[in-house]
Point group: C2
Chain length 272, copies 2
């Protein structure tokens, strides 16, 4: 007996934002969370709060899951649902889930909870194409959906790739702010230049990707030895200012054994 | 005897682009390079080729230097010039140069040689404000100039910060392409999502900077322990796909000893 458009299982920061976005878009929503009180404000907005996962999964054909450990609660789901698993996980976990629910989708949210329901939120999906097409219009309520392909693992892999980009980018930014702070410059005053720098580096990604795909790494900006010389400057500068040099030392270590006459993208050759 | 608007010392890839941009903007230009033949095409465009550094520095009031090792040739310069040192170096080297030429400028080019002379190129300067104001109009020929302050070291420090951002961002991108390639996905097809991710992360930098300046790190997106759990996923995913896990292992190591209930920006507290 299905009574609502969509069910949301898991009401952490992200799951709560997902349920709210579906409600805001005018959908009828059933929710479930282990701590049931987390649904109170959603119920006030019109959501139905289910007592059990079983009851929640039976309430809608489309069941969106966003929990910390999906495997731990998987067995409590009914099978006659389109399961869209937005819980964070590895591609292996996505494949396991796919064996268990082949007609479902694995998704990855490339946004923070506050961005859900806005154009800023990109959500990538992989898995059953028919399920995606059937529910695409509804899924637009939580963010811009993008279908990556029928291999269930693709969404998790793209999420991992984006997370790696995120942590590295934030680390580079934070290290820069530490250098500048040590010289009496505020992090805030560095932001406009950092943003401009990010735009410039972003504009190189397509050319770097072409080199990765071709497996050939002619220097686009400068040769690797020029980068290494500048890394030495950064190590020296960090130590001179009393800023931890672990990060630039690691950057330099990644260049070991890579042909110094090639471009920076040649570092990818160490990875596989 | 000054006969040209600007002198460019050093005609590597970058110096050559600088000289060409000045010529294109209609300035009279004197150039010098150890290997004099590198000036041939610039001479064909109207540049004067000086036989010695001394002669080159005497030819213009504004002398722009872009060499690999500035200290090695510094003593060959006349003193009666406005020296703009665009050679890459540390803030210590900039201070040394400032002792030697206090009325000059230290600059950092945040662009690749091909970008010189376009709006894409941002060039930051620090040092003598009067010199900057006197030559700002001319310096616009090579890129958008920005004056950071009278402390000569500021340009070098900002360059170091941007380089750190660049290497880290590229490493994160390259690691992502390796993961996807291992799963049969081309790097090129990942670029649109990576670009979108970069835009999202860029939009967080101002808030991260405010936390760094305040020394307080409430979680903006998720708490550090959630990040660490996802880093474990990335380590696992990398190993599973046969991709080097050195990078995600390093990312995780940087979180050691940082309060797991704070936001990601708390990592900066390890650096100083």
């Amino acid at each position: 007996m299905q009574t609502t458009d969509v069910t949301v299982i898991g009401l952490g920061l992200m799951g709560h934002s997902l349920a709210k976005a579906f409600l805001t878009a005018g959908h009828s929503v059933t929710v479930w969370n282990r701590t049931r009180s987390k649904a109170d404000d959603l119920v006030a907005l019109g959501a139905a709060s289910a007592a059990t996962i079983q009851e929640a999964t039976e309430a809608s054909e489309l069941v969106v899951v966003c929990v910390t450990d999906f495997a731990a609660i998987r067995e409590q789901f009914g099978k006659a649902v389109t399961l869209v698993n937005l819980s964070s996980g590895t591609s292996e976990q996505a494949r396991e889930t796919a064996e268990w629910a082949p007609a479902g989708l694995d998704g990855a949210i490339l946004a923070v909870p506050d961005g859900i329901g806005t154009d800023e939120a990109v959500i990538v999906y992989s898995g059953d194409r028919a399920a995606y097409e059937r529910h695409e219009a509804t899924l637009k309520a939580i963010g811009t959906p993008s279908f990556l392909g029928e291999d269930h693992s693709l969404a998790a892999l793209h999420e991992m790739a984006i997370l790696s980009l995120m942590w590295n980018m934030l680390n580079g930014f934070l290290h820069g702010t530490a250098l500048l702070q040590a010289a009496g410059v505020s992090a805030a005053s560095y932001v406009p230049l950092a943003e401009k720098g990010v735009d410039t580096i972003k504009s190189w990604l397509a050319a770097y990707a072409d080199q990765v795909d071709a497996g050939d790494f002619p220097p686009l900006d400068s040769t690797l030895d020029v980068h290494v010389a500048a890394m030495d400057h950064l190590i020296h500068e960090s130590r001179h200012l009393g800023v931890g040099a672990e990060l630039p030392e690691f950057l330099k270590s990644l260049t070991t054994g890579v042909d110094p006459t090639r471009g920076y993208a040649a570092l990818v050759s160490r990875l596989r």
